[in-house]
């Protein structure tokens, strides 16, 4: 069960021809896939396309009605290989993942797919995780499109254009026997807008047809001599076919008035470029541009004739291309050079080579470009905004602190890292090789644990070399998501085969939590469309690890610490695997809250636990916060008239996971913490006991309160 439910929204996917569809970008993409008559879809979750996978999961009934087969792939490589169904059969298929990381994982299958080519339309929806909000290295998918000859679509970021481009993408793929990538930037994935829907289409040729009547064509298999043939085919047949299709179907767009300078841009940047031009008086809110615009909804391949036509009679063009290297700009220069045209090409000279093209960056780049050639066009520019006083700005820059993402309230992964911190004090620091997933928040304050992260599922692999005879063992961390993605082979099997002596901590919280709580092989949750309940320990033992310990309650810091200490200090050789198992608190809360509400309503006895801090016992050192970092551990101005340091305060968001108490014990912190048990619908016995206790305790308390004053008097 994913974090966000689209059960309600997916009903919109049934919209018929002519209906206006309002919704998020990824929902529109799903609708476009159904309108295109896909036979199968697959993918691997990850921002910014996690929601696309969630939508598909929640849309399972609708997909089934239309005969669409949907797989939650084990990895992006699996997803890419799934497209093999379109090699021999006229089947339309679509897959999706986070890029460039997912594309890297998929590249083997993708390159093979691109070499042999496809018969049915094969579309890859790429969530380009670049710029603000991104969580990965800043690279471009463009490079991959170039190296394997996969066409790259980059539509204008409005739902109508995106939906059109999904549909046309399939046609392009079929017309050129080439897989096609459709790139969506982060904001486009989440953009809310509208478009006019068409009817959904059933695939005419089905997967069942393919299975029943298999077709074999040896010329489509990547093996010599066919592989040499493929390369020739790409250049001689598919490439020109693609350029013809793009030209004939007018996939790229031309806007604006005639001038002797012009602007070329990636389609995905169109809205922001238009706004920047509006501010400079070069366009208006409707996109009525005073400069000629050439919008590349297809950024690979480029169409030479379109460029030479656009540049004819122009002194200069500005190429607006986000990210580096400047592949398109270089290509444009080559095209113009070959055509012997003198049009000057600007781009990364007035715009920055690296980094996101925000509105501000675009305004400044466009201004520099136009000023050089036709400065009078800028006469209508809006007056510059009145700036904030520099001293105010400067003060804010010093006072505003970053808010790094961190573990959620009650997260079961927190105690694991608190344990490592405790052991640091005892055994000294260890090299920690991290992985991708929520657990990577350990590298940030307050934990500051971890040396490297080499990719999803590669935590153990990242510690492979740091495995020689010495005083300390390396620790590798891996999540359950990464484990099933590839960590079992790249990490665990590798350490068995290479006789590693390292410690691997597998964080098993029951979900692919960082990407939005999707179910995994090892999830404890029942899933109607997937097979779950496959324990990690069984897999680890299966590949030959004997020293496996599963801790089923990570909040037990003492047990966590003892287990990890034993693994780090044992004389026994060979890989040591600790599976730290507790359910993701976010998912657990979502699962349990409705149940508890129902019990309360039915008058059943329910005990709620939460923690608190006695402000008069807290001295404001905040060790507890530094060891835990739980969002519900807050601070509050000291209520004591004498003390100055703020005290720790537990917010009501506390879910009573118990870590604070465990840490108070294990780290000998302080006695300020208490755990309150609040019994709703108490039993008669509860009430009776409570009554007796209260009267005795109350009597003693009163007696002493009186004595306190007597003593004072």
């Amino acid at each position: 069960m994913a974090e966000r439910s689209f059960k309600k929204e997916v009903e919109k996917l049934r919209a018929g021809a002519g209906e206006e569809f309002h919704g998020e970008g990824i929902l529109a993409v799903t609708k476009a896939l159904l309108q295109s008559g896909v036979a199968y879809v697959a993918g691997y979750q990850g921002a910014p396309i996690s929601h696309l996978m969630d939508v598909l999961s929640d849309a399972e009934p609708i997909l089934r009605e239309l005969g669409v087969h949907f797989e939650s792939s084990a990895s992006e490589a699996t997803a890419a290989a799934t497209l093999a169904a379109s090699v021999n059969y006229p089947l339309r298929g679509a897959v999706t993942w986070k890029s460039t990381v997912g594309t890297n994982v998929a590249s083997d299958a993708l390159a093979n797919l691109a070499s042999g080519g496809v018969l049915g339309g094969a579309l890859i929806i790429i969530g380009e995780d670049y710029g603000e909000g991104s969580s990965i290295m800043q690279e471009r998918t463009h490079a991959f499109a170039m190296k394997s000859q996969v066409w790259l679509l980059d539509p204008r970021p409005n739902l109508t254009s995106i939906v059109d481009m999904v549909e046309t993408g399939f046609e392009l793929s079929e017309a050129t026997n080439t897989p096609v990538m459709l790139e969506l930037r982060i904001r486009a994935c989440h953009v809310h807008g509208s478009f006019i829907a068409k009817d959904n289409k059933r695939a005419e040729f089905t997967l069942k047809d393919a299975q029943t009547h298999p077709v074999r064509d040896v010329s489509r298999i990547v093996l010599p001599p066919a592989s040499f043939l493929h390369e020739q085919e790409k250049i001689k047949t598919r490439w020109p076919a693609a350029q013809k299709f793009i030209r004939d179907r007018k996939l790229n767009e031309f806007f604006g008035d005639e001038q002797d300078i012009g602007i070329v841009m990636q389609g995905g940047l169109y809205n922001m470029v238009t706004r920047a031009m509006e501010l400079l008086g070069l366009s208006d809110v409707f996109g009525n541009s005073r400069l000629p615009l050439y919008v590349l909804n297809v950024t690979y391949p480029l169409v030479d004739e379109e460029f030479t036509r656009f540049c004819a009679g122009k002194r200069a063009i500005l190429m607006i291309e986000e990210g580096q290297p400047d592949f398109i700009e270089q290509n444009v220069r080559a095209i113009l050079h070959k055509a012997d045209m003198q049009t000057k090409v600007h781009g990364k000279d007035v715009l920055p080579m690296a980094g996101e093209y925000t509105g501000q960056v675009l305004v400044s780049g466009l201004r520099k470009f136009v000023e050089q050639y036709t400065p009078q066009l800028l006469d209508d520019a809006r007056p510059a905004p009145q700036p904030v006083k520099p001293e105010v700005l400067q003060q804010m820059q010093t006072l505003v602190q970053p808010r790094p993402p961190g573990f959620c309230t009650g997260c079961p992964e927190r105690p694991i890292f608190s344990t490592i911190k405790l052991l640091d004090k005892e055994l000294g620091r260890h090299h920690v090789s991290c992985d991708i997933g929520c657990h990577l928040f350990s590298i940030l304050p307050p934990f500051n644990i971890g040396n490297t992260t080499m990719g999803y599922g590669l935590g153990a692999a990242g510690a492979a070399a740091l495995n020689v005879e010495g005083e300390k063992r390396s620790i590798a961390v891996m999540g359950d998501g990464g484990f099933w993605h590839n960590g079992l082979t790249s990490g665990v099997s590798n350490s068995v085969f290479n006789k590693s002596d390292n410690v691997l901590l597998i964080v098993d919280n029951g979900y692919s939590a960082a990407t939005g709580g999707q179910d995994l092989m090892s999830s404890e949750a029942d899933n109607l469309i997937r097979s779950t309940h496959h324990p990690i320990e069984k897999a680890v033992r299966g590949v030959g690890v004997d020293a496996v310990k599963t801790v089923t309650h990570t909040y037990d810091v003492a047990q966590m610490r003892d287990t990890l200490r034993a693994a780090l200090t044992t004389k026994e050789k060979g890989p040591k695997v600790i599976i730290a198992q507790s359910e993701c608190m976010l998912n657990r809360q979502r699962r349990e809250k409705p149940q508890v509400r129902k019990l309360l309503k039915d008058g059943v006895r329910v005990v709620r636990e939460r923690f608190g801090v006695d402000a008069d016992a807290c001295t404001g050192d905040h060790s507890c916060i530094r060891l835990s970092g739980c969002p519900s551990l807050n601070i509050s101005p000291n209520p004591d008239a004498l003390r100055l340091d703020p005290v720790t305060k537990v917010d009501d968001s506390c879910v009573g996971c118990g870590l604070c108490g465990e840490l108070a014990h294990a780290a000998v912190l302080c006695p300020s913490f208490y755990r309150a048990e609040i019994v709703s619908n108490p039993s008669t016995w509860d009430r009776l006991l409570d009554g007796v206790r209260n009267s005795v305790i109350g009597f003693l308390q009163q007696r002493r309160d009186k004595r306190l004053l007597t003593q004072a008097l």
């Binding site: 921002a47 706004r275 700036p387 970053p402 609040i678 709703s680 305790i697 002493r704």
Partner: protein, 507 residues
Amino acid sequence: MTSNKPRAISIAILAMGGEGGGVLADWIVDLAEHSGYKAQSTSVPGVAQRTGATIYYVEIFPESAEKSAGKSSVLALMPIPGDVDIVLASELMEAGRAITRGIVTPDRTTMIASTHRVYTIGEKSAMGDGIIDSSKFIEAGQAAAKRFIYTDMAKIAEATGSVLSAVLFGALAGAGVLPFQRKDFEEAVRRGGVGVEPSLKAFAVGYAQAENPVGASIVKSAAPVAAPTPKGSHPALDALRARVGALPEALRTIVAEGVKRMLDYQDVAYANQYLDRLQPVVELDQRNGDGSYRLGIETARYLALWMSYEDTIRVADLKTRAARFRRVGLEVRAKSEQVLRINEFMHPRIEEICDTLPAGLGRWIMQSSGLRNFLGKFTSKGRIIQTTSLAGFLLLYFVAGMRRWRRVTLRYQVEDSNITAWLDRVRALAASDYALAVEVAECQRLVKGYGETHERGSHNFKAIMNALEQLRSKGDAARHVRELREAALADEQGARFKEVLKLCLAN
């Protein structure tokens, strides 16, 4: 000029993950779409949804203008500095963040913010006071925005049993910056269908606050939990009051707090001892100070804190009081029909146990390693004590009752001699280097907490005291002591402290 050309209305929402920024954006979109406007919203949630700061961006544009132009509008996907009409900040530092992002400009932007603070991990994990002064953000908001509407919306949400986004939505309506009627806003909330009634209540308060902004008073400190105030007339109390009354005006409040603490902690004699110890410092201050009584005030504060050091007896006392039971009930929101149980996490080590024994006995055990190890075995694990159970309460009640013998405990003797040494230093310095005396008095701030924290603090305190003579010979000792104190609170490992100490002594 193009300024009379139609343009989109732009709204940026700055929030933290899980704070309802998305709900707010959805309401605005729904409101616009039902009021003849086209709406586009975007966000960059990503990992920010896990407690990080994030931004939602909405643009709206009238459909009528699209119709007359015969063309669709092209709306932006992210805010451009100078081009943002409305900024909604769910928290005060986020308002500051909006300013640093340049999206608040004095000629254009109406900023609406909640003044409550959600502290950053940096502020929270500081070893002392890391809280940033809220008034700075308010001043900046007033300077940076065309109009700055601010009030504590978390409080309103709490009072109305709703969520912050509903108050913000109400304030947005009340600000009158969008071309829609109040009822249009309310209809959007109704169509949302979740928690409609409380949301509308919160909306109404937010609306009223924005319509007639009164600003917000920034509460610097919570209401003090009053120690049992000595009331009534009694010769001993009257005498104490008279002694406090005889002090210079500037000192009376803090000394009265100190006296109250001594009475709460021990007894009348202890309060008199406190005043006896303070008196010479006050006299020195009168002779050498500038009339601000800084030395007297800080000594009064830290002497009271030191004399009420947190031993096992004190903790047991605080944990078993009736007022504390009531406070816990309020804090965890236990209703009267519910049963409340309170569990304490105690981990008294052999050190704390010996501290509470008569000095001779305690010292003997601590020095005999065999006995210490034997007893240590029983104290290696923490204990959970349920104060609301009879057994748990009686145990702590008994320990709290040991206060009458506090003066013979090992801890008392240790603290007593440390206090004396510290006060001697303060007094000795008062005449020759007043500023340094104040700094030395304030060094007591380092000695706090329990277990390791206390040991670390005491260690740093001693290190400063030991270096004092050397620092004085170098000159500007007051500044160095202040720097050392700040360095001691910079990190747990004491790396910064060592560095600064080396630097101070090298000069």
